[in-house]
Amino acid sequence: MTKQVTIDAKGVHYTPLNQQIRKALEDGADEVVVNNVLGQRFIGDGLHGDATIRVNGVAGGDLAMFMSGPTIIVHGNAEHAPGNTMDSGKVVIHGSAGDAVAHSMRGGKVFVRGDIGYRGGIHMKQYETQRPILVVGGSAQTFLGEYMAGGLLVVLGLDGVMKAREIGSGIHGGEIVIRGDVDDACLAAGAKKVPLTDEDRTRIAPVLREFADDFGLDPEPIVNANYTRIVPASARPFAGKYTWE
């Protein structure tokens, strides 16, 4: 039997709120429901285990930072940098999110149904089996995948035109997959377009199906759509800019 704990965040500062969430998990809760969240920061930060935290409201900055294991589901929008340096686990945001989503993320999944702001996926990284995944249902803004060092970043653009320019500025690892065509003028220095092979499609299909399932979308049109894959042009895009050899 699952143990559920409900917390009312109305008017509560983020420090006692996060103490309450941590305490609930320590006491063996499988599911924590946090109601009336209004911009409280650092929710789920550094938490371990496999509990589910449901956030009802607007999640504040640095949601799930350093988190290792739990699942956070946000029914609302999130502010800046959800998934910051996240280690493993999953963040599902039913609304939109601010700038620097998945900042320096090192593992796990961040799914955003709506749009994300500037610098999504900035400096995502990977190491051996640790491979972070960010999927955006709506649109992303400029400097998408800036300084990206690893992981998978998918933008589906389901709600209209993708606005990002300077995509993959300084990318030196990982891959950015965007539904539809991407104009060459939108790519930044260090990024290059390559075709999405059948092998690539097979590899990302399970991620797309999981995303569709989380948000109640029909997976087939998403899995079968045309995609542009953007990868690093080199492992050291600024070798000639910042170093003299």
Partner: protein, 353 residues
């Protein structure tokens, strides 16, 4: 960091300061407790034809005498009084906030299209440049700035010190400061105001020196070493004295990159090149989000690289611009639309005439 908040009612319906206080306090984490401030339009209906001068006096004896004498040279003082305050634990007042309701003598600025505002500009520059223990912090009609600096200046303490819940305005800006220099000065935090225009900013421009030299060549004196002061004067210069529309003034302050201009249709290219050439020294670089207001409008914009956040909310007649969505929802829980405009897209709300 810093947290900023602005709300405007398009039909001039009044809001007292309590909701603005609550909105700003949701963003306390963005400040360091060393400065906060509020500015409201529409608060002095009984003196609507006078310029309301909010002045910080080092002491109400010598400093006030100097201000009185300066104002009498430039016009008539209709009324003056101490701004009502209520002591707050932990907030140390190091000056006496005073207000004057003042009518400038327009004949002292012959040949000006806006003589009263030129007179007010001159006397504000004169008082603020002098080592006289007085700083004018706002100087417009039917508008007032309420702010403080130093330890204990959290948004709630500053609001309660000035009792901003007792004021009703149709347009409010608010600012929560993360002090990076001179945290102790009361005139230092935003908002900055010069008669019509008020500015709150989250950021730090790297072009401060260039912008300041440019604006000082037109007779403005920058006395607080803060970029928001320069922005307020730059907007006054471009909109009032040069007659630019606000959207062009914003484009001069935060212009598109040359590569973006190259992609525009020819007429647009010409306009944008002309603006960049004419106002190259006013263009700002570095991270910033600015919300500016005058009695008829509120405008928000960010730097071109979008290094600071800006969230916009709309609900019936109200337009909100804030650093975080939570601030908007603190005042308007059922806000109808929330957007995050792209860099270089100014958000302009106008009050119905």
């Amino acid at each position: 960091m810093c947290g900023i908040f602005g709300v405007m009612d398009k039909r001039r319906q009044m809001m007292d300061g309590s909701g603005i206080r609550e909105a700003l306090s949701t963003m306390n984490e963005r400040g360091s407790g060393e400065g906060a401030g509020y500015v409201a339009y529409g608060i002095y209906p009984d003196y609507r034809d006078c310029y309301a001068l909010h002045v910080f006096l080092d002491n109400p004896c010598e400093s006030k005498g100097i201000v009185d004498a300066t104002l009498e040279q430039w016009g008539t003082i209709e009324h003056d009084e101490a701004i009502p305050t209520c002591d707050q634990p932990g907030l140390r007042a190091n000056c006496t906030p005073w207000r004057y309701f003042f009518k400038p003598d327009a004949s002292l600025a012959p040949g000006s299209a806006t003589p009263e505002k030129d007179v007010v500009t001159n006397l504000v520059m004169q008082i603020n440049a002098g080592a006289n223990g007085a700083e004018v912090v706002s100087s417009g009609k039917n508008v007032g700035v309420f702010k403080s600096g130093g330890a204990g200046s959290w948004p709630e303490a500053v609001a309660d010190y000035y009792r901003i819940q007792d004021y009703e305005g149709y347009l409010w800006l608010a600012h929560n400061r993360y002090a990076t220099s001179s945290p102790e000065l009361w005139e230092r935090p935003d908002p900055f105001n010069l008669h019509d225009w008020s500015v709150v900013e989250n950021g730090k421009t790297t072009t401060y020196g260039t912008n300041r030299r440019y604006i000082e060549s037109f007779g403005y004196n920058c006395t607080t070493s803060t970029d928001s002061e320069v922005i307020a004067y730059a907007i006054d210069l471009m909109v009032r004295r040069h007659g630019l529309d606000i959207d062009l003034a914003v484009r001069a302050l935060a212009p598109p990159y040359w590569e973006e201009i190259d992609q525009m249709p020819e007429a647009e290219q010409k306009l944008n090149r002309a603006l960049r050439f004419a106002y190259g020294s006013a263009a700002m670089n570095g991270p910033f989000t600015v919300v500016a207001a005058n009695p008829d409008m509120m405008v928000g914009f960010t730097d071109r690289g979008k290094l600071r956040p800006m969230v916009v909310g709309e609900c019936a007649d109200r337009l909100y611009i804030a650093s975080e969505e939570s601030a908007i929802r603190a005042m308007e829980p059922d806000v109808e639309s929330i957007t995050r405009p792209a860099a270089g897209e100014p958000v302009i709300g106008r009050v119905a005439p």
